[in-house]
Symmetry: C2
Subunit: 346 residues, 2 copies
């Protein structure tokens, strides 16, 4: 803002009028060169004599000239824009991922257009992707935490670089945090205290992350020769965690609970508090995500951290690779266990 001021047009006319923004031609006239030379200056071509370049720069500044992206895109076919399809950008994970992508993209000179969808079904995704393609984005990221979203990607358009976050059918490269291993870490951690078993409050089964975490929990138990106990299903919300907590509180022999996300863990902690169950005294609890609040739950929550920023960065990396003609494969990012008081009897 506060550009070189909206100086009069180059022509001696009294100006005002509907005032079309200055174009290459206007700059060229003012600088006394051809429009092509101006074009070279704004594209940092070497082929301009320094003196000329300065003159053009001055004209650009005094006119407050800004290249018209539409015109440039029309002739080059490049828009400098990437599209991101996201489902609920209010959740911590997707929001952070979006932020990470945006930062990486901006550094590389790309703008980000977002398209939110309210439902994860194939139609909504298709519509969002379609709308981004109409915007002529050069690449698309689909933040696809649902099984249905990943499924929908089977019908994704071919001609455009596309990366999924979370999961996608094979030809499409995906970035994901290793949920399975994160769940394993959590479960092993709980088992290390000598519990007979570990209970699990899962996320909604139509989420990839939920089923991977459940699988990690289940198989880890099996690897220890333990038959997994009854599973409690949640929907990520604190309320569902609260209800799961109330239900688990009745269970005898409860010692360790792995909750599929921090929000539900919050609800569960609350239910346990109401039921007079002490954490970590009576029961040890592990969450998943490491939201900023987790450290201040009561008690502070042991949880599995996902580095969403890294997810965003790597996602852009994959997209960028594709835009340069590469055919990158999927990548996984390791999750890390953050041990806090909810599993520290000390």
């Amino acid at each position: 803002m506060s550009n070189g001021s909206d100086t009069e047009r180059a022509s001696g006319a009294p100006a005002t009028s509907p005032r079309r923004p200055p174009s290459l031609a206007d700059v060229a006239v003012l600088a006394g060169v051809s429009h092509m030379t101006v074009s070279r200056v704004i594209n940092d071509s070497e082929l301009v004599r320094p003196a000329t370049r300065e003159r053009v720069r001055a004209a650009i500044d005094s006119l407050g000239y800004r290249p018209n992206t539409a015109a440039r895109a029309l002739v080059t076919g490049r828009t400098g824009t990437l599209g991101v399809v996201t489902m609920d950008s209010t959740l911590y994970g997707p929001a952070s991922t979006l932020y990470g992508i945006e930062c990486a993209a901006r550094e590389a000179g790309f703008a980000i257009t977002v398209s939110s969808v309210s439902k994860p079904d194939r139609g909504s995704i298709a519509e969002a992707v379609e709308s981004l393609q109409r915007q002529a984005v050069e690449g698309i990221v689909v933040i696809a935490p649902h099984v249905a979203t990943a499924e929908a990607l089977k019908f994704a358009p071919q001609g455009i670089p596309l990366v999924a976050v979370g999961g996608a059918p094979p030809p499409i490269p995906a970035i994901s945090v290793d949920q399975y291993d994160g769940a394993r870490l959590a479960t092993e951690h709980l088992l290390s205290f000598g519990h007979k078993t570990v209970w699990h409050v899962s996320g909604p089964s139509d989420w990839l992350e939920a089923s991977e975490r459940e699988r990690g929990w289940r198989e880890t138990l099996k690897a220890h020769g333990i038959r997994p106990p009854r599973l409690t299903k949640g929907d990520w919300s604190p309320l569902s965690g609260y209800e799961a907590g109330k239900s688990l509180a009745k269970e005898s022999g409860l010692g360790a609970v792995f909750v599929a996300n921090d929000q539900m863990a919050l609800g569960l902690l609350r239910a346990f508090a109401e039921a007079g169950i002490s954490v970590p005294g009576d029961v040890q609890v592990v969450g998943f995500d490491d939201v900023p609040e987790a450290e201040f739950f009561n008690p502070p929550l042991t949880t599995v951290r996902q580095d969403f920023n890294e997810v965003g960065r790597r996602t852009f990396g994959l997209l960028s690779e594709q835009m340069n003609g590469g055919q990158p494969g999927s990548e996984q990012i390791a999750a890390t266990l953050i041990v806090r008081q909810s599993t520290q009897p000390g």
Copy 2:
């Protein structure tokens, strides 16, 4: 996706080749009409005979034709894109606001380009706005929760519709939740229990919302003839709330605390729990924001709700009004008190 399939080009050529996407002209040839008629069809003009329209539609489908926005933007001067400048889209408020804007915009046929800034200073904002203008957005929303951001808007460009969320110097229309009144509600609520005073944990003073909330608290106390006690400053983070809580716990005669946001309230609750202070038994606590988790804090938190979705919608409304030549004024949205257990001794 799964568009009408990438059928061969209209020409009988063996296709493949660098395959430029189909243009109006290609559709026109296939449908046996002029490109202008195709243009009319895609712009829903009445002036096309239904039979012709159908023929053109068929050609469009079979070619998988998609209008080129760049070309359209070049000639119409309209890009169908709005820009949003946001500071930390990871926070609940900004994220929800962004989502609200996006939904409203999409319904009206606009795409959203986001530009995040890491610092709230004038330079960063200017840069972000500049980058959006290069993208030729038709309007800009600045989510400006900082005093500095609002200040920076004094130098905002003139020629383009612009709306601020949070606050802005007078000529620029702003949408905001009535923080002052929200703080008043919270303070009155606490006073209604007969406390001698109400303590306050504020947000960082360079945030508009923080200073408005503090002002609401301070003036409400004064209106009751109470001299405001020492203020504790936080930075929105749970950690700072925790520290504020530890510090307040030493205070004698502590009975009521109004915390400037829910995250800090979480930290404070935790500090109180550690100090053996019962909420709401010994001290009553009110937060601000009503994040989804607040209902499941320990105890569930009385707080002031901001309808961020409404903020988003109204923001788009103001922008839309400007784009149609109007000069809307600023608007405020009422905050509502949500009473929960943290102030319910029952």
